[in-house]
Every structure is written in structure tokens, then in C-alpha cells.
Amino acid sequence: MSSTILISGGTLPDGKKSDLLIKDGKISEIATKIEPQGAQVIAASNSILLPGLVDLHTHLREPGKEDAETVESGSRAGVKGGFTALSAMANTSPVADTAGVVEQVYRLGQSTGLLDVFPIGAVTRGLEGEHLAEIGAMADSVARVRVFSDDGHCVFDPLVMRRALEYVKKFNGVIAQHAQEPRLTQGSQMNEGIVSSQLGLKGWPAIAEEAIIARDVLLADHVQARLHICHLTTAGGVEIIRWAKARGIKVTAEVTPHHLLLTDELARSYDPIFKVNPPLRTEADVMALREALADGTIDIVATDHAPHPAETKECEWQEASFGMLGLETALSIVNKTMVETGLMNWATVADRMSYAPARIGLYENQGQELKVGAPAHIAVMNPTSLFTVDRDLVASRSRNTPFHGMELPGQIVATIFNGAVVYEGSQL
């Protein structure tokens, strides 16, 4: 661990070119020209400096599915993508519904030490949607859980959802809802629409997402609690969130990189690498999501990084697991879909991928502006450097990236966490 690092010639999110000196885990100086004086130098004249990215939705699979991912391998994938904080979803085995499990995941993150791992607690015991999990104990544990989610399952019982929303107010927590009406999506395989009808794959209608979002923003309004909508995918869902925010309801929403780029047309290959829940939607939905992310209706980008072992994808579509890798390609895809298209600048990227997710998760010490005295969590990215995604070169233990073979703009040059270089790209 180098004590002093000089990032030279990089461009800050506001567009200013500056040198940036890191000492003792903090940003100690920002100036037009800083002399190295023995510091490790990262040449960043072609690069953007962003506050370390914060992912509010990561599946790290440990404990229980270590063949797919571990906290350690997921951390490596995270720093390779410019992240300095991940939020470990609760659908592990055993489920993260007790203080014991969240503390275990938290400690695994600490001992790996590449980035912060914030465990998300289950809303209900065993993700079964019936009884509240030990929410208070998880909040009071060393993991200090503030985000609760049954992700993978919808908290569909309105009474359970109401109680959960109310209960977490005690410590200003937030319920992150996987909005999927279960009866309307029994056996669903992909977006319900023209493509699913042609392919003979059972549809997952947009209304199944929108109906739960509509119900839950009303519940959140009623009990004056914080609601977060995971992986928003539909133009209709965007409209409901926009309406709710205009009413002052405390709702936030996330979009995944894959829903910003890919559409249900890809299912025509029947290759389950494109099978994900919620499913890839239509071009019109993709455009609505991009616009909503740009105007702030959608608050953040979250990866829903979902590693799966090969055999669960090398099979028939309907037998395959839902989910895609996301950490290592997230920023490049945001660059491609939002920055290169002119919808967002880098200051907005910093908000959607760092400040805002840290704010929603109450992650102190993360998502801070790059200024003197701030903790040195920094992603350095060359936005114009093109690379071809190769599933055989991922840091994740799994290879299920839907972007394999795709050329994307923007490579991470270095990731700095707590003042130490935790990832260095081949560019250095």
C-alpha cells in the first residue's frame, strides 16, 4: 500500500483538468500542477476521475453458492469496474435474514479489503414474504444494515410491505422492492410482447412491475417511509415514479446497465445469456429509461450483478437461470448509452453511480465529492479507449456476461480505495 499517490492530468467530473494527490487515505491536494516528490504516479491525461462507484445491487453469492461468486471474486470484479462499494443482496444460502449472516458477509468484505461490502438484509424470513426478518438486529449489527430487500422475490403481500416500510423508519432504513406481481408472472420467461409471442416463451408483462410500483409508492406515501424500486425496466414504471416524486413521495429507483442497452429482440437467439429478471424490454422502454436516468426520475444505476455457473446457462432457455454479470462493464455501458449519446455529463454520472446510491444506502464515507479531505475512493477511466468484452477474461468466477464480443468504450485505468490502488488496468 503506497502512502502517497499522484493522479496526474486527469479530468474531474466537473470537466476541470487537475492533478490530485492522495495521502493517508484521503485526498490531500487538488491543483493544476503537483510535483510527484516520490509519490506513485498514475498518468491520467486521457482519463476522467470519478468518485469510487457505489453499487446498490450486487449478488456476491457467498455464503452458499461459492461456485458462482465469492465476496473476494466479486470484490475483484467490482474494483475492475471502478467500484469502491458493493451492496451484497440477501438471497444467499442461508438467506441474510439474521445478524449472523450479514456480519459474516461484512467481515468477508473487510478481510478482502478491496472495497466496502455493505450487506443488504432480507425483508422477510427466508425471503418467503410472510414474517419479517430480524431487521432490527441486522441494523444494530456491526454490518449496520440500512437497506432491506427480498430481491429475487417481490414482497407481494401488501400488509407485509406496509409493516416493513414502517418498521425501518426507526433507523431511516429503506425497503428495496423487487417489483414483480407473482400471479401475473407465473412461469414467465421474457418480456411479454411481440417477440415472446413469436418465440413461444411465456411472457412477463410490464404491468406486473407497474402494478407493484403503483401500490408501493402509495404505501410509502401513506406511512411516510423510504421506498427504493430495484431494477426498473418499463416506460410505465418510469411514469409512476415521476408522478410519485412530483407528489413528494420518498421513492428512489434504479436501472441496470443491461436494461439501458439491450432489448428483448436478443431472445430470438434462444441463448439464455440474455435471460434476466426482470426481463429485457423493448426499444421504447430502453429509451424511456435513459431519459428518466438523465432527468433524475431514476436516481441511480445499479448493476444487479448476478453470477451463475456455466451449466445453468448452457441449456434450454426455460431451464436456464435468470441473471447477468454487470460489475465489470457497468461504467462502459453508461458511457456508451448516456454520455456518448449526450444525455448525461460526467458530473451526472458521478451522481447516479456514486453520490446517489451512497445517499440511498446511508453509506457514510462513500459517494463523496472529489475534494481535499474527502476519503480517497476514486475510479480513473479512459472514456475513449475501446475494448472488446471477453467472458474468458472476467474477474468474476462466472462468465455469464451478455456483452461478450461487444466493443465498449471506456476502460478503467485504476481504482483507488481508501488511498490504495486496488486495481490497475493494462493501460498503466
Binding site: 411481440i194 416463451l201 437467439s269 434462444y270 451449466e311 426455460q318 431451464e319
Partner: protein, 315 residues
């Protein structure tokens, strides 16, 4: 043509080539020597991961009349419940030297997965994949319609065909919509709104919820099998009501054009989507469909595996 996965992969000319080849092969089958030496030494595997005796037997008869070696491989149930994956099965068949695999599978897209993967190199014939497609069935249906109604014409221009019943879950309907419209026919889908796919308005067909309103104008009715479990899945209230609105019965039979024919891909639920007297009436070509199935499947295997050899070429 390397595989037959979906009707959408066929041009009109290719579809007609299959039908014309089937006509030639049917003439051979009608002759004294039913068997042709064309595919001698070739290995064709019937991979049936879902129950279907009639389609399997039809393909088996077709392959044997072309002198191919036929291996029947039934891996019942899904890959997961069976324990062996489609990948492992495919690699096993590859190792055995299969020249073609005829696959029936409960998963939509299973045939395409097999063809697109690197798991095997032989030709793949889709013999029905989930609720996606059943191209050989559509080809034999088109063949049957053409024989009865095209008056020596090459395609099906000017004919009006109704496909009646559970379109939503029917691979037969999907393949037939693609093929019959490609061949110039006008297709009307007749079903309760619950059993029509979302987005059907983008299909090149007309849709009717009222069987009686179209029965007098059609040249052929294709009745689809209705599965009773659809009732518990709330697609319609009960069997009686389904039959009343969407079943083919004596009254509807009487209203049909004198030349119109009755078709069913089988197996039939007599008394549900079709009454016994309709199924056995003079209009019914249901058994001809079965006979024609062998010729059409011979044509498919012939065109996939024998390349440009002439039909009936001696050894």
C-alpha cells in the same frame, strides 16, 4: 438447407421445393417398391424429450423408407429433472456419429439451441419445440391443403383457412400462420381472447372471436387440440362452454362450403374441440394428413441429407 428449425427460415421457393419433393416421393411410396436407397449408411436420431408417438413414428417411417439407420432416443422430461443436460445429450449423439437429429422438446427454442451450439455438427430438424414451432406439421398441412384445394396450382393463393382454438400455446398454429401466409393463403385465427397471443395484431392474419361468423367463408378449418388444464388456468370457464363457441360440430359442418375440408393435427379430443361426426365426416382429411406426413418428412430428410442427388436414383 442445413437445418429445419422454423418456417421463418424458409423462403417460399424452399417451402414449395419441399412440397414438390414430397409429391414425387409420395408417388414412389404409392409404387411397388416403397423403399429408396438414398440415405443408406446415414444415421438419423429421433431425440424425443417429450411424448409424441405419432410424430416420432412418422419421422421413423420417413427415414426408413429412405434407408437411413434410425436410432430412437427418448429422454423423457426436462433436462433438469432428467439430470442429463441437452448439451450432454447432444455431445453423446455427436460422438455416435449422428448425421441428423430430429428433436421434439418441451422447451421452446430447444432445436435452435442444438443447431446453434457447438455441441454437435449434424443437421437438426425441429419436430416441435414447446409452444414455438412445429414446421414439419405445417408443411404436411400445406401439402394436404394444396392437394385438395389448389386445383393444380403451385401455392395456396386465394384460399381462406381458419385455425381454431388454443393459438396461444400452439406450435402448430405458429408454424402454419407463417407457412400458409407465405404460400398466399388468407388465415383467420379463431379463439377466445384469452387463447390468443399478445401482439397477434402484428401477425399477418385476421382474428375472430366468433367461429360462426367465418365458417361459411373458409376453405379449410384446422382445429387445434385444447388441453383440459387450460381450464384450471382460467383460459375458459369449462369444456362445455368451449365446445359451444369454438368446437366443430354438425351444425357448423353443414354451414361450410361444399368443397371445404376439416383438419386436425392430432391427437384429437373428440367431443371437446371436435365432435366425432365432424372428425369422421366426408370433409375430414385427418387421416390423409397422417399419410402425407410421411412423404413430407421424407422430403425434409432427403433435402437436408441427400443434397442434389436425384430422387429415385439407383445405387
Amino acid at each position: 438447407m442445413r437445418h429445419l428449425l422454423s418456417i421463418s427460415d424458409l423462403s417460399k421457393a424452399e417451402a414449395l421445393q419441399i412440397l414438390n419433393t414430397a409429391e414425387e416421393l409420395a408417388r414412389v411410396s404409392d409404387g411397388p417398391m416403397k423403399k429408396l436407397p438414398t440415405l443408406r449408411g446415414r444415421t438419423i436420431v429421433n431425440l424425443f424429450a417429450e411424448d409424441s408417438t405419432r410424430t416420432r413414428i412418422s419421422f421413423e417411417a420417413a427415414a426408413k423408407r429412405l434407408s437411413a439407420d434410425v436410432i430412437n432416443f427418448s429422454a423423457k422430461g426436462s433436462s433438469v429433472s432428467k439430470g442429463e443436460s441437452l448439451k450432454d445429450t447432444a455431445q453423446t449423439l455427436q460422438a455416435m456419429g449422428a448425421d441428423a437429429v430430429i428433436i421434439r422438446h418441451s422447451a421452446s427454442g430447444a432445436a435452435q439451441r442444438l443447431a446453434d451450439s457447438q455441441w454437435m455438427t449434424g443437421s437438426v430438424v425441429n419436430a416441435g419445440d414447446g409452444t414455438h414451432e412445429h414446421p414439419s406439421q405445417a408443411l404436411l398441412d400445406a401439402f394436404t391443403i394444396r392437394r385438395h384445394l389448389a386445383h393444380g396450382g403451385d401455392d395456396l393463393t386465394g384460399l381462406h383457412i381458419a385455425i381454431v382454438g388454443d393459438v396461444l400455446h400452439s406450435r402448430v398454429a405458429r408454424s402454419n400462420v407463417l407457412l400458409l401466409t407465405k404460400l398466399g393463403a388468407q388465415v383467420t385465427l379463431v379463439a377466445p381472447p384469452t387463447l390468443l397471443p399478445v401482439g397477434v395484431e402484428s401477425w399477418p392474419v385476421k382474428v375472430s372471436y366468433d367461429f360462426d361468423s367465418i365458417i361459411e367463408s373458409v376453405d379449410a378449418v384446422m382445429m387445434l387440440r385444447i388441453q383440459l388444464e387450460r381450464m384450471t388456468e382460467l383460459f375458459f370457464p369449462n369444456a362445455r362452454e368451449y365446445s359451444r363457441y369454438f368446437g366443430l360440430n354438425k351444425d357448423r359442418l353443414k354451414k361450410m362450403k361444399p368443397t371445404a375440408i376439416v383438419m386436425h393435427p392430432g391427437p384429437m379430443n373428440r367431443g371437446l374441440e371436435i365432435t366425432a361426426d365432424s372428425a369422421d365426416s366426408a370433409r375430414s382429411v385427418i387421416l390423409e394428413q397422417v399419410t402425407n406426413g410421411v412423404s413430407v418428412r421424407m422430403a425434409i430428410l432427403y433435402l437436408l441429407l441427400a443434397g442434389s442427388q436425384e430422387i429415385g436414383a439407383s445405387e
